[in-house]
């Protein structure tokens, strides 16, 4: 099969650990720590007070602006130790928790009452006859964000400026991150909901064409999705190549269109949505249930029982790992990662909660995560060959080491998608992606400074 995009790498996929395990629903926990920022954009605005009794699905915090999302309670219970009132009368969260990035983030703790009583679901929308605004409003008020990892509010993605000519909805079922199998299992077990969610989304976007992109290491998912989709959507399978599921690479593979440099997918007439988000949209529109749970893969060689779990947001990592029967006695854990091994974030605490975008909890053994000395670039060109964005990683890394951020900007560091292919391939063990992140933040800071002048 021809390559679907330039570059890419083939990391060890590790999916066999959990691919065969059916999705299990996690039991009710005694406590949930629910962060107020489980999305890109402004943190949600708290509307409950300490001591309030809440029901499952009840709004805890409202969207705070256009690019934001509300937060809903994962169960019924009591709001404990959260809020204080600021001088302006605004409620503030003080119960900070450690977020996936390692910094403290505002969060609410819900003490479960054990009854798991749901609040009245929102009315079902007859989406086939509804207008786009009704559907998008529902998606906004149910707090749906991109569940593939980015956690960008879905309602924003579905509201492109009217002059943009969107004609294709692409469902991302590539799941190109090694080890993760949550989307794979979802496609096997909830194919109909995914397709219906896609139909709803297509209706909201006003597009006819739906393409479901899946890597061909999941032939069973390709088969089931093709059968279930029928003539409602086209299923395309691609050769395994990381990062097949990166937005721009997936659009190119599905439509042969390239997103113009520096632009969003809508410039190529496409909107890309993760398959998990489709199920959330289906639940929100048809059943009136907001987003407070998701499928997460718990896996890695140290895990006793790797598997795929339906987890509520706010479930902390210690409880998540307990579901998987903990870790093996003789396999010391070297790294705990939220997400996949290529783009996920390493954690240092088990109090970090599952958020709306937690596709996986991956544990790597100590012998799988050596710490390396970073060596000088020997200009082997491996990074240039594997970069799916056509960048010159070697050149940029040396520029950034010398703090020549303006040169790095000219060498297109801002087009880096941080997929990690270059770092993966580097024989000098250079922390390339980390350097690019550093440069991006420096350049963004400079741009902000310039715009204030």
């Amino acid at each position: 099969m021809p390559k679907m995009f330039p570059g890419g790498v083939h990391p060890k996929d590790g999916k066999a650990l959990s691919a065969g395990s059916e999705i299990k629903t996690a039991p009710l926990m005694d406590k949930y720590i629910v962060p107020l920022a489980m999305h890109i954009g402004a943190p949600a605005k708290l509307i409950v007070r300490e001591g309030d009794k809440v029901l499952k699905g009840q709004v805890l915090a409202e969207a705070n602006g256009f690019v934001s999302a509300p937060i809903h309670s994962p169960t019924s219970g009591t709001v404990i130790s959260i809020s204080k009132t600021s001088t302006t009368g605004e409620m503030l969260s003080v119960n900070n928790c450690i977020g996936p990035t390692g910094t403290l983030i505002p969060a609410i703790t819900i003490e479960s009452d054990g009854e798991d009583k749901a609040c009245e679901p929102l009315p079902t929308i007859d989406w086939q006859n509804a207008d786009a605004k009704t559907i998008i409003d529902r998606i906004r008020e149910t707090g749906i964000v991109g569940m593939g990892g980015a956690a960008f509010p879905t309602s924003v993605k579905l509201s492109p400026p009217p002059e943009k000519n969107i004609d294709t909805l692409i469902l991302n079922g590539a799941e190109c991150e090694p080890y993760l199998t949550a989307d794979h299992r979802l496609m096997l077990e909830e194919a109909e909901k995914i397709v219906q969610g896609a139909m709803i989304t297509a209706k909201a976007l006003g597009v006819e064409k739906i393409i479901i992109g899946i890597e061909n290491n999941k032939p069973d998912a390709v088969k089931i999705m093709t059968e279930v989709a029928g003539d409602r959507a086209v299923v395309k399978s691609f050769p395994v190549m990381y990062p097949q599921g990166a937005e721009k690479q997936l659009i190119y593979a599905c439509t042969k269109r390239r997103v113009p440099k520096g632009n969003l997918p809508m410039e190529a007439g496409c909107v890309v949505q993760n398959v998990g988000t489709m199920v959330a949209i289906y639940e929100a529109v048809v059943n009136g249930i907001p987003l407070f749970e998701r499928i997460t893969t718990i896996t890695g060689s140290p895990v006793v029982e790797p598997g795929n779990w339906k987890l509520r947001v706010g479930t902390t990592l210690d409880k998540v790992l307990t579901l998987a029967k903990g870790v093996k006695k003789d396999v010391p854990v070297g790294k705990i990662i939220l997400g996949g091994p290529m783009m996920g974030m390493a954690q240092y605490s088990l109090t970090v909660p599952i958020m709306k975008n937690a596709s996986g909890v991956l544990l790597l053994a100590q012998n799988e995560v050596k710490q390396y000395e970073s060596l000088p670039c020997i200009r082997c060109g491996r990074c240039v060959d594997v970069c799916p964005m056509g960048l010159m990683p070697a050149t940029m890394s040396v520029q950034i080491e010398k703090e020549q951020f303006d040169l790095a900007e000219n060498t297109n560091v801002m087009d880096c998608i941080e997929c990690g292919c270059c770092s993966y391939a580097c024989p000098s063990r250079r922390p390339l992606v980390q350097l690019y992140r550093h440069a991006k933040s420096e350049i963004n800071a400079q741009r902000r400074k310039n715009s204030q002048k």
Binding site: G334, Q366, V369
Partner: protein, 389 residues
């Protein structure tokens, strides 16, 4: 739930670092080790052809380079771990392969100083040197000690040595006489002296003391008189050239041995195939055109490919990662440049050989080539067309 105790991970020993969390196994040290492995056939061929004196040169250059590398790391206060990368061994071996067997130790030392101290560490060490260190060593020596650098011991497996041995046995059998040999013009003075000594003293033929011209030297000394009659053109003995039964530097004579090592390098993806391919192709085309124009006065393109340092240069020196372009497209431009300059020096220059000069020359162009051959950012064409954002 059974009663099995659930163990949670110990968070006191976790590594917290930036993604990606899994890395390819390939490491710089492994790359250098593989390059050394790839040089073994050519080095072995050199030792077979030129004897222990070839081995001594290779060993001396390697020891000097590794020693100087350690010394420079110490002086510059850098981590001695850098010695483990093996790049000094690669430089030392390459330098040795670019010298003639029997090169004096002090020339090896000066070459190593030029390579490791001047070309490598004064520019910042591994990864920062713009010029191939081994070639800087060789070219520096070639300019400083031209005579020593262009005195080639005779190849033990060359037809010339076979003829000398035959002459000795003919002498033994009284099939010929010393006077006849001297007058035949078949042997040079030194060769005749060696035959005479071996015959009179009843000893083995001492090949180390005999020098021979390389085929490229012979070509450059061919002359054409006013009537257009060419004299001094060597016979084209392609099989000897391919096997390496000719005079030359230790590592350059056997095209076969270099091809074996080169194939390994390409197979292990340690060099870009584009470099040797377009380098050799360019030499083939330019010398081919010249041969079509002047078939009498110029050697065939095949001769140019199989003799001199082209094979060694194309597979082992032009391909040096640090001093060649990072992208495949850049590698093509660079290789064509190397080929053009090599061909021009060989055909019209005053040096018989142009490989080292051409590669160093193109090394200087690498930053520029990198810039003009930078890959197109995914979607940049579309951005230019649409003029969006």
């Amino acid at each position: 739930m059974d009663n099995q105790e659930i163990i949670l991970p110990d968070t006191s020993n976790l590594i917290v670092s930036s993604s990606p969390h899994v890395l390819n196994k390939e490491h710089v040290n492994g790359i250098m080790r593989d390059v050394i492995i790839a040089m073994i056939p050519a080095c072995a061929a050199g030792i077979i052809f030129f004897g222990i004196s070839a081995f001594n040169v290779l060993l001396l250059c390697t020891l000097f380079c590794v020693g100087l590398e350690g010394l420079m790391l110490k002086i510059l206060g850098k981590s001695m771990n850098a010695l483990k990368d093996g790049s000094a061994i690669v430089t030392g071996l390459l330098l040795g392969m670019n010298l003639a067997a029997g090169t004096p130790w002090w020339i090896c030392l000066i070459g190593s100083i030029l390579a490791i101290v001047l070309a490598k560490h004064l520019y910042g060490g591994l990864g920062y040197n713009p010029f191939n260190p081994a070639l800087v060593g060789r070219v520096g020596l070639l300019i400083a000690f031209p005579a020593a650098l262009t005195t080639w011991p005779v190849n033990r497996l060359s037809p010339k040595v076979a003829a000398m041995k035959e002459a000795i046995s003919d002498l033994m059998n009284n099939d010929t006489s010393l006077v006849m040999l001297q007058n035949s013009g078949e042997f040079t003075k030194a060769q005749y002296a060696a035959i005479k000594e071996a015959f009179l003293n009843k000893t083995e033929l001492l090949v180390d003391t005999i020098s021979s011209a390389t085929p490229l030297d012979a070509i450059s000394q061919a002359t054409m008189n006013a009537e257009g009659v060419v004299t001094g053109m060597p016979e084209m003995e392609y099989m000897d050239y391919f096997m390496g039964y000719i005079g030359g530097c230790i590592g350059e004579t056997s095209a076969l041995a270099i091809l074996i090592g080169g194939a390994y390098l390409i197979f292990r993806r340690l060099i870009r195939w584009q470099v040797p391919f377009f380098y050799i192709l360019t030499v083939l085309i330019v010398t081919g055109i010249m041969h079509m124009i002047h078939p009498d006065m110029s050697a065939t393109p095949l001769f140019h490919i199989l003799t001199g340092g082209l094979m060694l240069g194309a597979f082992f020196m032009a391909t040096d990662m640090v001093t060649s372009p990072v992208s495949a497209k850049g590698a093509v431009i660079y290789a064509i440049g190397c080929g053009l300059i090599t061909a021009v020096i060989r055909l019209w220059g005053s040096y018989p050989e142009g490989v080292s000069f051409s590669i160093l020359f193109m090394n200087a162009f690498v930053p520029l080539i990198d810039r003009i051959s930078a890959k197109k950012v995914f979607g940049s064409k579309e951005a230019a067309q649409g003029g969006a954002a």
